[in-house]
Amino acid sequence: MPAAQAPAPQRQPRKASLGEGRWDDHRIEVILGNLLRAGVLLSAAVVLAGACVYLSRHAHESADYRIFRGEPSDFRTIPGVIRSVINGRGRGLIQLGLLFLIATPIARVAFSIVGFAMERDRMYVAFTLIVLAILLYSLLGSGVGV
């Protein structure tokens, strides 16, 4: 349930009466929002390209996801994914797109550090560094990097 409980977007004109500090936050948010959208569109494009290659080769094989086998290491690690992209595999390209997708929110957190630093908000620079550390641990410490 992403976008949970969100009402349909309301197109209200933004009021000009926002306070100064708030405006700074808002400016960071606009940049971050655009960054996120660009990341998602890029990853969707890569996934779509991979889908074309994958479907053109495997369209008529039978699909079976009833039994969990786990993915081969080519689709589980960053070097494996890169290797399979170089070998021209469609599913490798899809995984690469999904890696871009996972990297998008991480990039957003990294950019937030710059934003908070420019506002000279040390407490939030520290909070953001904690979140970034957890995200990098998950991506690299869990074995995706090897």
């Binding site: 349930m1 992403p2 976008a3 949970a4 409980q5 969100a6 009402p7 349909a8 977007p9 209200q12 933004r14 009466s17 926002l18 708030r22 948010e29 606009v30 971050l32 929002g33 996120l36 959208r37 998602v40 569109l41 969707a44 996934v47 779509l48 991979g50 889908a51 479907l55 495997h58 008529h60 039978s62 699909a63 996801y65 969990f68 786990g70 993915e71 689709f75 690690t77 469609g90 899809i94 995984q95 999904l98 890696l99 997708l101 996972i102 990297a103 998008t104 929110p105 991480i106 957003r108 957190v109 937030s112 407490m123 939030y124 909070f127 904690i130 979140v131 957890i134 998950s138 991506l139």
Partner: protein
């Protein structure tokens, strides 16, 4: 079913789930895992892996639109993300250790709770609450443009909200969902954050939370490219379209239908989990 047929059908179902999720505001991710496991007999672990990446896509894709509304509070978001990402990491590690039938049962309970929550009337907005010392120190209080001009709010019960967010993160990591229902509990009910601020802020947080567990899922081989591809593209396209069209008049009945779907899926997941079918 051939791979081509499977891809087309899963992409269509995901598109509808994303569209309805965006139109009703209930989110499409929560229905995907049960649909994939019940209708398509996909192993729940593959379903969770695919749903998780689609959650990142919808959250990040909608962020730019939400930001333009100017309601989200990045400080609340970043502070609570410490709790949700820790929780998500824990949830993802738990998911690889507990039996799939237990996953199905927990999923069923979360679906039933979401269905209940979607029918419950929202509490009236609190006007002027006194500032909470902890929230003030953490600079969580803020303001947003309202119909009558700028409206400021004071965040309450920070420790309770933070703990609930840890739980929301753990559920997200465990089940591959955005867990909006628990986030609403934490932000609306405990922390008394205004509705619009909490929905937009929570959308921002969902992508980061899902990214924290996605690494674990990918490295454990739960993310299958052939399944994640139609799910991610379908949900993304559906939710982007849904956030663009405004069908105000229909939303109420759509919401009712969608909560019934969630209710039925919740009962199915409980049944299949309890009787060991999953």
């Amino acid at each position: 079913m051939t791979i081509l047929e499977f891809t087309a059908v899963v992409a269509s179902v995901s598109f509808v789930a994303g569209l309805l999720g965006a139109l009703t505001g209930l989110g499409g991710g929560v229905v995907l895992v049960p649909l994939l496991t019940i209708l398509f007999h996909v192993d729940i672990r593959y379903a969770i892996g695919a749903s998780l990446v689609s959650v990142i896509a919808t959250s990040s894709g909608a962020a730019a639109a939400y930001v333009k509304e100017g309601f989200s509070n990045i400080r609340i978001g970043m502070f609570l993300e410490i709790a949700t990402t820790f929780g998500a990491l824990l949830g993802a590690f738990l998911a690889t250790r507990i039996p799939t039938s237990a996953l199905a049962i927990i999923f069923g309970v979360v679906l039933l709770y979401s269905a209940y929550l979607s029918r419950k009337p929202r509490p009236a907005a609190q006007r002027s609450l006194p500032p909470d010392p902890l929230a003030t120190r953490l600079r969580l209080n803020g303001s947003f443009p309202d119909l009558e001009g700028e409206r400021s709010y004071n965040v309450q019960n920070v420790p309770t909200g933070f703990s609930l967010m840890f739980g929301a993160g753990a559920l997200s990591g465990l089940l591959g969902i955005g867990s909006g229902a628990v986030k609403v509990l934490a932000m609306d009910q405990a922390m008394r954050i205004p509705f619009k601020v909490s929905t937009t802020t929570s959308n921002f947080m969902i992508g980061v939370t899902a990214a924290a567990s996605a690494g674990v899922y990918l490295s454990r081989g739960y993310v299958d490219p052939g399944l994640a591809m139609p799910v991610m593209l379908g949900v993304l396209a559906g939710s982007l379209l849904g956030s663009r069209i405004l069908v105000r008049a229909e939303t109420k009945s759509l919401r009712l239908v969608f909560s019934l779907v969630i209710l039925v899926l919740g009962l199915q997941m409980l049944y299949q989990g309890l009787w060991g079918r999953i």
